[in-house]
Amino acid sequence: MKTDKRKALLGMVLIGVALAVLPFLVGQGLGNSWVRVLDFALLYVMLALGLNIVVGFAGLLDLGYIAFYAVGAYLYALLASPHFGIHWPAWAILPLGAMVAAFFGILLGAPVLRLRGDYLAIVTLGFGEIIRIFINNLNAPVNITNGPQGISQIDPVRILNTPLSKPLDIFGLGVPSVYLYYYLFLLLALLVVFVSIRLEDSRIGRAWVAIREDEIAAKACGIDTRNVKLLAFAMGATFGGIAGGLFAAFQEFVSPESFGLMESIMVLCMVVLGGMGHIPGVILGGLLLAILPEALRHGAVPMQQAAFGKVLLDPESLRMLLFGLALIAVMLYRPAGLWPEARRKRELARPSPQPPSRGRG
């Protein structure tokens, strides 16, 4: 028992050290643009874990999740940019963004709680599109979001009055901005992971899983399904809102383009591909889908030149093509995801007594 604990502690320390030196290794080996990719991967992990609460734990298919990311990002952009001339500190906006996103989560959740399965999916999708269209068009007659041009010159996150957007000078060693954001995002991502794990094991987490497995049985067991589902929407939205605020601060620019349906689908793919409801799986899914397309983009041109002597397909379309094929292949060969929950794996291994009947949600 004691050696197990010690082993676990040792493992954690090793992972911690690895995560701490990772940006330096990546930055030295592949260049700083890859550290930027890592930063985005961490943001996506936060998003995927947020959506995992809604889709993975509570089993509510949400196709408009990116709307909460957009809410968080735009709130940050409006409260910390020259657009309105307001410059609040990040530490005030991020919690506020989380709260506003949670409010939007409840706003979406309240009317759609009666819907099940695919109806829920299409309504959440509509909600996501509505938010995006409003952001896109709220530049007239009163300019709130600056429309399709987006908002630029957003303030970076400052820690102890040091902006993270400039290289930090530590003992004559310049640490670039992307490294600083990496550590900030890593900390917050770890916090999100921690909250997710604690939620999963909590009374609420078990209530979510119960609703996912059988809503009527859950109700019969005394679970207030309405409030518990609302809580799932609100919690998921909170993570999305925080990630959105960080995204705005990191990019220093937001525009409606970043919040399309494709982004929602991307995050959903991370959750499902990794293994719905299984936190390590979802983290894996987020990292893979954030990093692999970038790798494809960078590798596509040299590989084609080596193989054919010229560039046949532009890297962007090749990237999407391979991405689509990968989605199909992974689902065909591992329908429960790359790293599914042990319980779900057992369920699938058993010959299914259930016919493929419709309406199962």
């Binding site: 889709v55 298919l61 009317p111 759609v112 009666r114 819907l115 099940r116 399965g117 695919d118 109806y119 999916a121 299409i122 309504v123 999708l125 509509g126 909600f127 599109e129 509505i130 269209i133 409003f134 896109n136 068009n137 007239a140 007659p141 497995e213 059988d214 809503e215 009527i216 049985a217 349906l261 689908i265 959903l268 793919c269 499902v272 591909l273 719905m276 397909l313 379309s317 999407m320 093509l321 991405f323 689509g324 094929l325 990968a326 989605l327 199909i328 689902m331 065909l332 329908p335 429960a336 779900r344 699938l348 299914s352 016919p355 493929p356 009947s357 419709r358 309406g359 199962r360 949600g361």
Partner: protein, 307 residues
């Protein structure tokens, strides 16, 4: 008043196209309980295939109507083959998998088709050659193109034919039985796999027709057109009650009317605060309202609470 009639007519045309696409979604959903996300891309492939043929024959001296018909004749088998293949490759192996798995493959298929179309047809917008007669008539101060009348009538005829097929033929009965309960239908001697393939074939043929209609009506086609069209058509199917064929038709026509009337009048109604680019918001907003008050759609039967 003339704007009103004009918008009603535009809405009807758009609505009949939505209805044809929505039928494809709703038939597949009725039988498999699956959102066939790739259906919009089938429409796109149909439109671009037909357009390629039409462009080839545009200067051949054949009458425009014949050329368009030939294009349609090329698009229908192409789309049917595509729909059949999609089902075989991406959905059939996953029939007993968790519910979200086929949704993800559907998204994957959608992305792949879009990229392939972009590689074959390029990123640019393709204009529909001006070979169709542009004659029209004036009704109550509104101008209606003959093309629009043809689209609405053709769509109505196809839908009537589909209803006959579903309600009167052996195949239709087998399809209804499979939708009701695949297991029992199988025990009664229905070959479920054949029925599912037939469903995809019919839905894809309808999608091909819809694709040609869209590109003829708006004189344009491009690799990205399927996505938003599919989304709207799916919305229409849900609006009418997914899995219900008359519901899909009603939902399609209603959505078309809502969109064009909404786009035409939203500016006046809100004193210019919201412009016509809020068209899509309108469609989704109505959808959400309908679902909140009638969670199974306008014509959907009340689905018993199943876990």
């Amino acid at each position: 008043m003339d704007t009103f009639i004009q918008q009603i007519i535009n809405g009807l045309v758009l609505g009949s196209i939505y209805a044809l696409v929505a039928l494809g979604y709703t038939m597949v959903y009725g039988i498999l309980g699956l959102i066939n996300f790739a259906h919009g891309e089938v429409v796109m492939i149909g439109a671009l295939t037909a357009l390629t043929v039409i462009k080839l024959l545009a200067n051949s001296g054949l009458p425009g109507v014949v050329v368009v018909l030939l294009g349609l004749l090329a698009a229908i088998p192409a789309c049917m083959a595509l729909g059949f293949t999609i089902e075989r490759v991406a959905y059939r192996p996953l029939r007993h998998a968790p519910r979200l798995a086929p949704l993800i493959t559907a998204i994957g298929v959608s992305i792949v088709l879009q990229q392939l179309a972009m590689i074959f047809w390029g990123r640019s917008y393709h204009a529909f050659p001006p070979i169709l007669p542009t004659t029209g008539r004036d009704i109550g101060g509104a101008h209606i193109m003959d093309l629009q009348i043809v689209i609405v009538l053709l769509a109505a005829a196809i839908m009537a034919g589909l209803m006959l097929l579903i309600n009167k033929t052996r195949l239709g009965r087998a399809m209804r039985a499979t939708a009701e309960n695949p297991q029992i239908a199988g025990l009664m001697g229905v070959n479920i796999n054949t029925i599912i393939s037939a469903t995809f074939l019919i839905g894809s043929a309808l999608a091909a027709v819809a694709g040609v209609m869209v590109s003829a009506n708006y004189s344009i086609a491009h690799y990205h057109m399927g996505f938003i069209l599919g989304l709207k058509a799916f919305t229409a199917a849900v609006l009418g009650g997914i899995g219900n064929l008359p519901g899909a038709m009603l939902g399609g026509v209603l959505l078309g009317l809502i969109e064009s009337l909404g786009a035409g009048y939203v500016g006046d109604l809100t004193g210019g605060f919201l412009g016509s680019h809020y068209q899509d918001v309108f469609a989704f907003f109505v959808l959400i309202l309908v679902l909140v008050f009638r969670p199974s759609g306008l014509m959907g039967e009340k689905v018993s609470e199943r876990a």
